[in-house]
């Protein structure tokens, strides 16, 4: 009898390649096979303009469209011990980390940003699936704790965008221990009387789903995101039958009572802002805000570092 293997092979490999090739200006949608011009795709927040398929998006770009005017401050993360088990499979964990860092230009999978959403000062954390499948190890646990502490200090709500293949196996039991640790992060925000919104993106699986992600005051998913504890392949192997169409997808979970809503990425900032203002007992936003889909975006896409985003990372 096998244990559960919580892991989903990323469908993002192709997406990555085209991100890394600046010459490749046209992106083929995995769903509808339409060719989309890269700038058009970035402006649509990596949602296919033809079929609304939600592709992967890096945290910087997401935050560029989540926070008012794309303005946010990057919150520095505590330094974390690497490779506690001196783990190696066919490859050393330290080498895998090196590769992931080179590929994504970040130390680990999570980016924390602080800024206003619909005028509400908010702390958001987002996982980058390109960094070892967004898997949760000690650094990710520390990042969510830091995000929660920052939210509590600023009396601000917390939003976490999840995207993960599960636990970081290379950190063994210490990756499992991030389930209680991130649960404590949620408890700290709750004890401070602040809202915590959990946003599921494709895919969110394993120990990540089974900890902080499922503990939101409000739970939102992007359309068609795979959300599960055990992956579909593992289940099919266990029960030896084919799973129904759409099983473990966001809409299926909504139907089964596990989510509050499924929201298109292009409407996410507005929906979150509306909910936050009510949970924070603030009046409805009356003044029309400057369009957050404005000029800042193309800048973000070109140089990958939003000019508007201050960084205090040391």
């Amino acid at each position: 009898m096998n244990w559960i293997t919580n892991y989903v092979r990323p469908k993002l490999g192709t997406l990555l390649n085209r991100r890394e090739t600046p010459d490749n200006l046209w992106v083929k949608c995995d769903e509808c096979s339409q060719m989309v011009f890269h700038r058009e795709l970035a402006e649509a927040q990596h949602v296919c303009p033809y079929c609304s398929h939600h592709m992967g998006i890096i945290p910087e770009e997401r935050f560029g469209r989540l926070f008012d005017k794309g303005e946010f401050e990057t919150i520095a993360q505590p330094e974390t011990a690497t490779d506690p088990l001196q783990f190696r499979d066919e490859k050393k964990y330290t080498d895998r980390l090196k590769d992931a860092r080179k590929k994504t230009s970040r130390d680990d999978a999570v980016l924390i940003g602080k800024g206003k959403i619909s005028g509400v000062m908010t702390v958001a954390a987002a996982s980058d699936f390109n960094f070892m499948a967004g898997s949760m190890g000690m650094a990710v646990g520390n990042a969510f704790l830091k995000a929660a502490e920052t939210a509590v200090e600023a009396k601000a709500p917390l939003i976490i965008f999840s995207a993960a293949g599960g636990a970081r196996m290379q950190e063994g039991i210490l990756s499992l221990m991030q389930m209680p640790r991130t649960t404590i992060a949620v408890q700290m925000v709750r004890e401070a009387g602040l809202p915590y919104i959990s946003v599921f993106t494709h895919p969110t699986t394993g120990g990540v789903t089974a900890s902080y992600a499922m503990l939101g005051d409000v739970q939102i998913s992007e359309p068609d995101a795979l959300i599960c504890f055990a992956g579909p392949r593992v289940i099919e192997q266990t029960i030896r039958e084919k799973l129904p169409e759409g099983f473990q997808r966001a809409e299926y979970l909504l139907e089964h009572g596990m989510l509050d809503m499924v929201v298109d990425r292009r409407k996410m900032a507005g929906e979150i802002g509306k909910v936050l203002r009510m949970l924070m007992r603030l009046p409805a936003e009356t003044a029309a805000l400057p369009d957050p889909n404005g000029e800042t975006l193309s800048g973000i896409v070109e140089d990958k570092s939003p000019a508007s985003a201050k960084s205090d990372k040391t």
Binding site: I4, I173, L176, R181, A210, F229
Partner: protein
Amino acid sequence: MLQYLDFEKSVAELEGKAEELRVLAKDDPDMDIGAEVSQLEEKAQKQLSELYGKLTPWRRCQVARHPNRPHALQVIESLIEDFTPLAGDRGFAEDEAVVGGLGRFRERPVVVLGQEKGADTNERLRRNFGMARPEGYRKAIRLMELADRFNLPVLTFVDTPGAYPGKGAEERGQAEAIARSTEKCLELKVPVIASIIGEGGSGGAIALATANRVLMLENSVYSVISPEGCASILWKNADKAQDAAAALRLTAQDLLSLNVVDAVVAEPVGGAHRDKGQTIQSLGDAIEKALAGYDGMDGGKIRLERREKFLAMGRQKLD
């Protein structure tokens, strides 16, 4: 009947011969086998202590999964008096992979929870091989709330390959149930003492093991993923499970050095299944000692201590 593991073949042969002699002697009372039998048994003992003196991580996994190993109900029946099982999650079903209820541990009333794999084929099926569905975790949450309300310590006995990866389990919120159970463990103002008695399988285990004190039987394993699962993902070859078992650092000794468990409870030579009574009593003594540390402690402090303990698991010294 005692089952032997592949690496115990030489022991099986010696003990088999001794048994054969005993059977022969039964038919022929004049036969004097005493010396020969004790010689064989001595030899078997020696082999056992050699083998168990240097168990590889993979062999420990095998011992941890041994079908004759004391399971949760056996431990509960030996250690808990007046055990009164309580059933159901009050929402959907009674999940027999999780046993729980009220009882007395060395006189003090407690709430006990355990994952039960089952002793024979029928029971294993009924208990789903110790793989809980959401209802099992929701029952655990309900009983933990009961413990908190009546100020009773919680003793958990963890032994599961993992939470059940099934269609219905997913539909009814396996992930949410595990998350809530872990969260409940962290909320309690009563001491929670977890004992890993066999397999501590990933999220399915942590949901009942987020405890003030985590004890582990010497030949138990506790891991984020099974060696087989890890091997098939990282090595892309399930046959590399032995390598994965070593890399994952899943033995009690490893986990003690990583400060993830607080104490390792020794097992008799040849594993817990060779002397269940002694193993269970040693575990009981360790639980009693752990519980005594919380006598008179304020509930808020008990909760805080548990939180601090887990918060530390990621703030390890930087190299």
